[in-house]
Amino acid sequence: MTDAIQLLVGTRKGAWIYRSDAARETWRVQGPIFLGSIISHLVLDPRDRKTLLMAAATGHLGPTIFRSTDDGETWTEAAKPPAFPKSDDADARSVDHSFWLEPGHASEPGVWWVGTSPPGLFESRDGGARWESVAGFNDNPRYWDWCPPEAGTPDGSLLNQVVIDPRDAAHMYIATSSAGVFESCDRGRTWGPLNENVEASFLPDPYPEFGQDAHFIALAPTNPDRLWQQNHCGVYRLDRPGERWERIGKAMPVEVGDIGFTITPHPRCAETAWVFPMDGTDVWPRTSPGGKPAVYRTRDAGASWERQDAGFPTEQGWFTVKRQAFCADRADPLGLYLGTTGGELWMSGDEGGSWRQIAAHLPEIYSVTAAPL
């Protein structure tokens, strides 16, 4: 017997919630929610297991945050969505979209963080109703060095993640698409780059202090001194207090490579993580290498990787899985979930050993988060 799970799915055209039975065999669907809206992230607050926050925009309308406390039946818009300070500069920043929602530390109920495009960090102290700019990053004297306006990825330059040390609310990491990973030890007042030995093959100096594209970072839940990173240029691991990342993706099969958008750590084993490789050759198709989708698992902290593809198409499967669209639940046995740009939702109930499709025909999936029901 496992736990019943809910999957919170954000897509280019709205949100959906899938709820399982206790065995995770059957799934009930709720949605579409805000059909037509671009939902970058939909997250349940693990502290109260009640509050849902949703980062939304549309092709026309500006970005906002919606909040629900009744399982997504009704939503209230933030009274003050994330927004940069007013400026008279001609090139003053404005939030294009909120990309990543992060519940605050367990000791800080009601606190949430959001990362935006263009790169910005914002904090709410009232459960997501009012958001304030975090000056330590957004007004940092080095901001324009770290986040130059021309460094945009296709959907715009991103502050794509906020990660908080579960042992210390003041110890934070952020990931950006223009400057790599940063660390703060004073709750966001000051920041320093944390990118030693991480490649930026698209810059004149391929190992700069900053300038990397950190697609996804994650702390190992049972060892928060261990960071996993799926970077634009490969898969890395960093064990603190060390500051030099190790390119663990070099152990991946050469014909597959270690390019991807995301990495998912095991919630109970600090040696184990999964990646979903994509094709980063020539013009960067960003699809499953060879049209053969697979996840790869390491159980020895990146020294070796094993292919897990049972259930996925064996040919002509051109999946792409975006940054927030691969996750694990905390059930036993562990469930893994991924959403594709083709609108398919896949799960494994045996730690990646086999995969089955639980939904299809959705719009392009941007995010999948799992939470207990």
Partner: protein, 88 residues
């Protein structure tokens, strides 16, 4: 100044489905502020934090397009807000 405002479909969730409302203000920003008091959140979906009309929104005072929120409004004017032709 009192003006008649056309609300596009993208914003009728804020106005209870109504596409035509009256609002008061001496400038476009003033009219949007008045709308935002009655329909909280509406203004930020149309104009960003730097008071720039969002890229895929269009506004007309009568038949004249404006992208300036300080454009003056005269009594009896009509302010039309549209979602631009975009997307996919």
């Amino acid at each position: 100044m009192t003006v008649s405002v056309f609300i596009p479909s993208q914003l009728t969730a804020y106005t209870g489905g109504v596409t035509r409302v009256s609002a008061a203000g001496a400038t476009v920003a003033g009219v949007l502020d008045d709308l935002d008091r009655r329909f909280p959140g509406l203004k930020f979906r149309v104009v960003d934090e730097q008071d720039r009309v969002r890229k895929h929104m269009r506004m007309f005072i009568g038949r004249d397009e404006t992208r300036s929120v300080v454009a003056p409004i005269r009594d009896g004017d009509e302010l039309l807000i549209f979602g631009a032709l975009s997307g996919g």
